[in-house]
């Protein structure tokens, strides 16, 4: 009597990567930024992170239970969304607003559209924008890391042309921007901590360089050309070190579900994000444009994918339609 063998279609071995391993790597990469946030803004920042993570995980668990879907909390993606959201909130944010943000990110942006892999916008960023629009005051009360005063101005607000409120605040030095000794969201201020995490993600091949590099490079070029009083005199180093550009370029714009799958597509996304961020920063009423630019580019991703289908190996570039 022949024993039953497993008969399946090739391949018969699979790599060791997995969704939860990737999420775990992202969490590890965020530890330096979270630690820097807690160091500069105190234990309150730690509680905000805990609140958003709890809110995201609970929302995912309950939504999946109610919608009778399999429980996916163990893939850690809700935890990642929670941490990323917290790092994009001001440290003085009321805890209940942070919790609402977490729930909005998971329930509205992710689960209602089909769960992991189906969201059309970055959940953490979309939630952040929802909070900005709903509670603009609470979302723009910045804490000074040195004095703990809750009325500081962010580095970008200080250089914003036409903003009188911040005109007399001292412009931070590059070293302050690099280390994080400035006012801002919990995780966006310390460029060096974010860089450490980014290097880890690149080394672990969780993210690739196309989006972050083109994004930051585009912002640098455009703010250099257009950001100063005369062309080609912009303080581009200040621009790339200030605001949420680093966390946006390396951790938010690179979110798999909401970025293109092809090399060309990713370059387009990076350039598009960079263009929009520069325009919003330089020519609109907002001092910072990272969240909006990434969300706008997220929406264009299906279109980008459709138009950057690579030529098949040995195929011809489509010119003539008559075959």
């Amino acid at each position: 009597m022949e024993k039953g063998y497993i008969v399946s279609s090739s391949p018969h071995i699979l790599g060791r990567n997995s969704t939860s391993k990737i999420m775990r790597d992202v969490l590890i990469a965020l530890i330096p930024a979270a630690a820097a946030g807690i160091y500069y803004f105190g234990s309150r920042a730690a509680i905000v992170i805990a609140v958003t993570v709890l809110s995201c995980v609970l929302s995912e668990y309950l939504t999946e239970k109610i919608l009778k879907r399999p429980n996916t909390v163990s893939d850690l993606s809700a935890v990642v969304t929670g941490v990323l959201l917290a790092l994009n909130l001001p440290p003085s944010i009321p805890f209940w607003i942070a919790a609402v943000g977490g729930a909005a990110a998971i329930i509205i942006v992710k689960q209602i559209f089909g769960g992991i892999g189906q969201n059309f916008m970055n959940p953490a960023l979309a939630a952040r924008v929802m909070l900005i629009l709903s509670w603009p005051v609470a979302m723009t009360r910045w804490t000074d890391p040195v004095t703990d005063a809750v009325s500081a101005a962010t580095p970008l607000a200080i250089i914003k042309k036409g903003a009188e409120a911040a005109a007399d605040a001292a412009k931070p030095e590059y070293m302050d921007l690099l280390l994080g000794n400035v006012a801002g969201c919990i995780g966006e201020t310390s460029v060096i901590a974010l860089l450490a995490g980014a290097v880890y993600l690149l080394a672990r091949k969780v993210i690739s360089f196309e989006i972050p590099l083109t994004y930051i490079f585009t912002v640098a070029i455009l703010t250099w050309i257009l950001g100063g009083d005369v062309p080609f005199s912009g303080d581009f180093i200040y621009h790339i070190l200030a605001g949420g550009l680093f966390i946006g370029a390396f951790f938010m714009a690179t979110d798999y579900t909401t970025s293109p799958v092809t090399f060309k597509g990713r370059i387009i996304m990076g350039v598009g994000c960079g263009l929009l961020t520069s325009v919003i920063r330089l020519y609109t009423g907002y001092p910072e444009g990272v969240s909006f630019s990434i969300l706008i580019m997220n929406i264009t991703v299906p279109l980008i994918d459709r138009y950057t289908v690579p030529v098949v190996f040995g195929g011809v570039k489509k010119r003539a339609r008559a075959d």
Binding site: H12, T19, I22, V312, F313
Partner: protein, 454 residues
């Protein structure tokens, strides 16, 4: 003379575990089996028709199956004995194929017609190769004589010898290079003599430095090659970056020559011909003895195998006999593969037999055979970066699951070489290649329906 360049490679692909546990295992000849089962289809092309009947006595090397069609290859008996059945039997690829079952008499008497072929020019050479039953021994099984005769107008200037062996576990090509380098170089010499190629490139993955050295040295020693290269032909041994699927024809040609085989076309369209090291050394042996293709070196490995190694088996030997020769199973096997783990075919019975183009038999235990379940696609794009052919497996998979025929065709599912790289790298363990195969079937069905409708 042979010169070496830096390791060459192609775009895409993935690193796979090498698991070349048997690379140090010298080839062991297996005993005569009690019976052999020889299917009439051991190649790409038209199946043969049996030319023997039940009860006939056959001898080693005798033709037992033939076909009038051009793209085909004769099948020979690997044993002497009596034909015990001519009937459709279970085939390694699933389904049933007409096969000839022969009960061996143990004597291994050689058929009278076996003698070195008379070869005077290219035409008689190709005819001899056709009669030898040689098919692509790298695993594809394409009749070699058809490869050697490209359509008029197509000129082949480069012969590529495939020593890549990129699949995990398999070491049968490696052992051929180590044990029979002289035969390989002899075969190259014969091909150069008869076919007058301008150059020969031997591609070997850089995880086999021993083979690279041995082949390079052998080429320097070979007299015929020395005169050939003095007369203008060029031979080189090129180390290739060990990356799967480096041994795939299109990737190999691209890495070694920079030429891209157009979608849907053959290597001959870019002036190249690819042959496996075993195919080349077989030609040398055949020219000397006239014995057709009746033996094959098979790597036996896997977590359930007691004594992994390389075994020289007669074609038609039942799989159960081959595993017995390798010491049997040390644990209950849960999966049996003919071929490597990336593209091999899972078997559901050990009563099928070794074919001309079998180069490995693997037996996995339960742990190795059990694959993680599929979860939701996260659109990471790793499949896109891993595809050596430049496809978007993520989208083909999504459209196949929804049966969108037009979209499946638009994303070029038919260009997939089914290498398995996409499924391998997917973190969500999506069954990408499997769904692309389904997509190809969906396209074929709809084409047939359209033709029938006309």
């Amino acid at each position: 003379m042979p010169f070496r360049l830096r390791s060459k490679t192609f775009r895409g692909g993935t690193r796979v575990p090498h698991r070349k546990n048997t690379s140090g295992c010298a080839t062991i000849k297996t005993d005569l089996p009690v019976k052999v089962i020889i299917p009439m289809l051991q190649h790409i092309g038209a199946p043969c028709v049996p030319v023997v009947a039940k009860g006939d006595a056959v001898k080693v090397g005798q033709v037992i199956g033939n076909s009038e069609k051009y793209v085909s290859s004769p099948v020979h008996s690997s044993v002497s004995g009596t034909v015990s059945a001519v009937t459709p039997l279970l085939y390694a690829g699933g389904g049933e194929i007409m096969s000839v079952e022969i009960t061996t008499d143990g004597k291994q008497e050689i058929h009278e017609s076996i003698k070195p072929p008379q070869v005077t020019d290219r035409k008689s050479f190709v005819g001899a190769v056709a009669a030898s039953g040689l098919v692509g021994l790298g695993g594809a099984g394409f009749p070699t004589h058809v490869k050697l005769s490209p359509p008029p107008g197509m000129n082949i200037d480069t012969l590529i010898i495939n020593g890549a062996e990129c699949e995990p576990y398999i070491t049968s090509d490696f052992r051929e290079m180590v044990e029979n380098a002289a035969g390989i170089t002899e075969g190259i010499g014969i091909l150069l003599e008869m076919m007058q190629y301008e150059r020969v490139i031997i591609g070997i993955e850089d995880n086999k430095p021993e083979a690279i050295n041995i082949i390079s040295n052998e080429i320097i020693k070979n007299e015929i090659l020395r005169t050939k290269t003095a007369g203008g032909s060029r031979i080189s041994v090129v180390p290739l970056k060990s990356r799967y699927p480096q041994g795939a024809e299109k990737m190999l040609i691209y890495a070694l020559t920079g030429r891209k085989v157009p979608s849907g076309k053959l290597p001959a369209d870019v002036g190249t011909l690819v042959m496996n090291v075993n195919s080349v050394s077989f030609i040398a042996a055949y020219m000397k003895t006239g014995m057709p293709l009746i033996r094959k070196r098979v790597t036996v490995d896997g977590s359930a195998v007691a004594r992994p190694g390389n075994y020289d088996v007669l074609i038609g030997t039942p799989l159960s006999d081959v595993f017995a020769a390798s010491g049997g199973f040390k644990t209950e096997p849960a999966k049996i593969l003919m071929g490597g783990p990336m593209m091999g075919i899972a078997q559901y019975s050990l009563q099928t037999s070794v074919l001309k183009h079998t180069n490995a038999l693997l037996a996995f235990d339960v742990k190795e055979a059990t694959l993680p379940a599929e979860i939701a696609c996260i659109r990471c794009g790793k499949c896109v970066y891993a595809c050596p052919v430049g496809l978007l497996p993520i989208y083909i998979n999504l459209h196949v699951l929804k049966k969108n025929t037009d979209e499946i065709a638009k994303y070029k599912a038919n260009d997939c070489i089914e290498c398995g790289c996409c499924s391998y790298v997917c973190p969500a363990k999506r069954r990408l290649v499997q769904s692309i195969r389904l997509g190809k079937a969906i396209l074929k069905n709809s084409q047939n329906k359209a033709k029938a409708g006309k």
